[in-house]
Amino acid sequence: MFKNLFKKNKHDNNNENDNIAIPKKQKLVKSLNDNIALFKYIFKDDETIIIRDFQNKQLKEANCCIIYIDGMVNTEIVNENIIQPVLRTDLSVDIESDNLLEELKRKVIVSNDVTIESDIDKITSSIIYGDTLFLLDGYDKALIISSKLWLTRAITEPESSKVIRGPREGFNESLIINLTMLRRKIKTADLKFKFRVMGERTLTKVCICYIDDLVMDGVLEELEQRLDSIKIDAILDSGYIQELIKDAPYSPIETVGASERPDVVAAKLLEGRVALFVDGSPFVLTVPLLGIENLQSNEDYYTNYIYSSFNRIIRTITAVSSVAIPSLFLSLVTFHQEMLPTPLLVSVSASRQGVPFPTSLSLFVMLFVFDILREAATRMPGPIGMAINIVGTLVLGQAAVEARLVSAPVIIITAITGITSLMNVGFIGPIIVVRSFLLLVTSFYGFYGFFFGFIIVVLHLMSIKSFGVPYMMSVTTVRDHNGQDAWIRAPWWVMTLRPKMIGSKNLTRQSTEK
């Protein structure tokens, strides 16, 4: 039955296509009316298209027509720089009438970007991008006049990563504005921009950006190769590409970085990485990504090195503890009670009196509830947010303990875990996965299970590579210059060299000559 349905649909489609008269050849002809009919056919059922024909006062044979899409063009440019000059100028004077189109382009139309074009596909796509098409009677060519109007969000500080010290600008959704923001940071001709169009229906503009004499060998080629293999119909955010070019497809770990800040992207380019701008997305991708970058913040480089090293150590500790604390707690209270000092053990077990559920189950449930609260607080409109606070603190915290559904230590552990995982918002996804995995093996096999699980996680991390660079590079080094910018941030006067592998093309960051 369904088969028939589909068949019928197909048949109907065919019929419809047959009924419409297709202009025989899709190319411009000399007759203006035929050309207008052609574009009317191309943009049929599209009522945003505006076709305006007019004529020069003096030169009667100068029959013109402009075609554009309402809302996509700057009407001021269309009125004052295209229609007005062509209407008002005396075209019979000082103009060779046998090459009128060229002459109009050269002497009449006031615009910075005018091209003569005859390819119908290119014309159509420029109209869609917001250019104005100028047709002249008697010519099988047309002028494409740049008149794009892109309404963009103002440049604001990104909500996803705030800083106390440092530039407050963030990328917005316009590709060109983003590129200029980057260009304003790195004012060298070595900064290269390579454009490409991706997404078969969205035709999204994508820009690969790198510094020519710093970019790591092989990464650029690898990135282009991976982008070439993408055959998707739509790219609405850089997240699509991020997932499609990932190194470890089944892993929760990201191997492609994303940032919303021009200073961060500039710094990464200056270390030899490659950036990928996607039109319509304020998040710029950078490759290769090292695991340690997740624990770094741009502010580390702007404030005192002792303070920023301290902050980095805090981030590391919280990242580890947000995956490990629930499992460690579970193994201590259920498998290795002997390790707890007796008074502590007594108070822990006293608080578990009368609680019907095993500790592992209540930990799982409470962590799940915390994630529910987190997700709800993220999606909920601002004014309702207060309700979550009340529900979270009173109902799920205090009342649950008083009702003896969970023990108080479990609530405390959940709270610590939650806060520490929120400190590292960038990789909260992997944290949740790893934490659940560790909790599961711990509840089966105690501390040994936890340790085995931890070994598995580390093995997995060590096996990942991001664009040929080991994901965990410079994690185990402290001595050479790779270690200067890993767990701690060395003072700027010490960091004279770029990171070893990524910046290998030109290691010198600061000239040491006096």
């Binding site: 040994y448 085995f452 070994i455 093995l459 096996s463 080991p470 185990t476």
Partner: protein, 366 residues
């Protein structure tokens, strides 16, 4: 596929971790009783020539593993037979190590958990590690091993109040014979077990690395092992020789300010990690041997099967813990002697002769 490489630092840690293996738990020189430290030192000195031979082999054939070397030196058929012996040796060793660990867990930590569960947990982690390859494994060691060393050091410091130096006396009470017996045990288990590591030394970065790694690896491993077993003697006295897991008991006596107490889980962590390293390396070498014997393209295709078989072998290999200690100290040194000493020496002599010949021939050819 890219050739896997391990840096010298990681290889040193791998070496030391392999040495520590299950030895850190079982202790060394059981026969020597309170002279175990002397037995350990003699064992190290005895094993140095063998380690030099292993390093020389790896130096002569850089980028080749044990089985390639055997093939090269002993010829197709004989080489294959010896390869089979080494594969079985490595496979069996891995199973023994897994059994050691599981027996420990069963005795010391979780008496009610079936022993096969412990074996499965360790075995599955090993299978995962071996499937990922030597590179990820050695990087993981590079991250964990320094931390473990620090932890061992701290635990050693914490035991200072419990050390009783009179336990060292009487010195050589039963004469030198038990000391040499203990030294021979230590020589076979663990120091010359490193012959298995020849199977992964094909991934070293430079030709010279093997000597450096053997030296520093032996240094770290020997210092830790000897200091651990000396500590056991100092803390437990005559009891050390009669316990199955002396390290565990020695550490459980630590109590600092009534807060840091019963920290034997730290011993367990060191043990778990080193045991994991040792059994993974054994599994890896066994798989590489199988690959070489059957001319497979990738050793990864047999990892899961071999690993599961290894888990099962470890389950049936001993009936009880008494048998395990008896085997480890009484039988094992003689069982392992051909693989650890006789074959390597023969291979080394043949290799030297071949190399000399090739060197002599070279000028004529040129």
């Amino acid at each position: 596929m890219q050739k896997e490489q391990i840096s010298d630092k990681e290889a040193i840690f791998l070496y030391a971790s392999f040495l520590l293996g299950s030895t850190a738990l079982v202790g060394i020189g059981g026969d020597a009783k309170n002279d175990a430290w002397l037995a350990g030192i003699i064992g190290v000195i005895m094993s140095i020539p063998m380690l030099l031979i292993y390093s020389r082999l790896s130096n002569l054939y850089p980028g080749r593993d044990l089985f390639d070397i055997l093939d090269e030196i002993l010829g197709k058929i004989l080489g294959k037979i010896v390869s089979i012996i080494y594969t079985l040796f490595s496979f069996h060793l891995g199973a023994l190590v897994i059994h050691n660990f599981a027996q420990f867990i069963n005795t010391a930590a979780m008496p009610e958990t079936p022993i096969i569960i412990s074996m499965f947990f360790l075995g599955l982690v090993c299978i995962y590690a071996v499937r990922l390859g030597i590179e990820s494994l050695s990087k993981t060691i590079g991250l964990f091993f320094p931390l473990l060393l620090i932890m061992i050091f701290i635990v050693q410091l914490l035991t200072i109040p419990n050390l009783h130096f009179e336990n060292l006396k009487p010195f050589l009470a039963n004469g030198l014979k038990p000391v040499f017996k203990g030294a021979f045990t230590a020589f076979a288990f663990p120091f010359t077990e490193t012959v298995v590591l020849l199977g992964v030394f094909s991934s070293l970065k430079t030709k010279k690395s093997a000597y450096k790694i053997s030296f520093f690896g032996l240094l770290i491993g020997a210092i830790v092992i000897i200091s651990l077993s000396t500590r056991n003697t100092l803390v437990l006295g005559g009891l050390a020789g009669s316990l199955y897991f002396p390290a565990h008991v020695a550490v459980s006596m630590i109590s600092v300010g009534d807060f840091i107490q019963r920290i034997e889980v730290t011993v367990a962590i060191t043990l778990v990690f080193n045991v994991f390293v040792k059994s993974s390396v054994c599994l890896l070498v066994a798989c590489r041997g199988i690959k070489k014997i059957f001319n497979l393209v990738e050793y990864r295709s047999v990892v899961i099967q071999t690993g599961l078989l290894m888990i099962f072998l470890s389950y049936i290999v001993y009936d009880n813990i008494m048998l395990m200690t008896y085997w480890a100290f009484k039988v094992y040194p003689y069982y392992a002697f051909p693989m650890e000493v006789i074959f390597p020496v023969i291979v080394w002599i043949v290799a030297e002769i071949k190399v000399r010949k090739a060197n002599k021939l070279k000028p004529v050819e040129v």
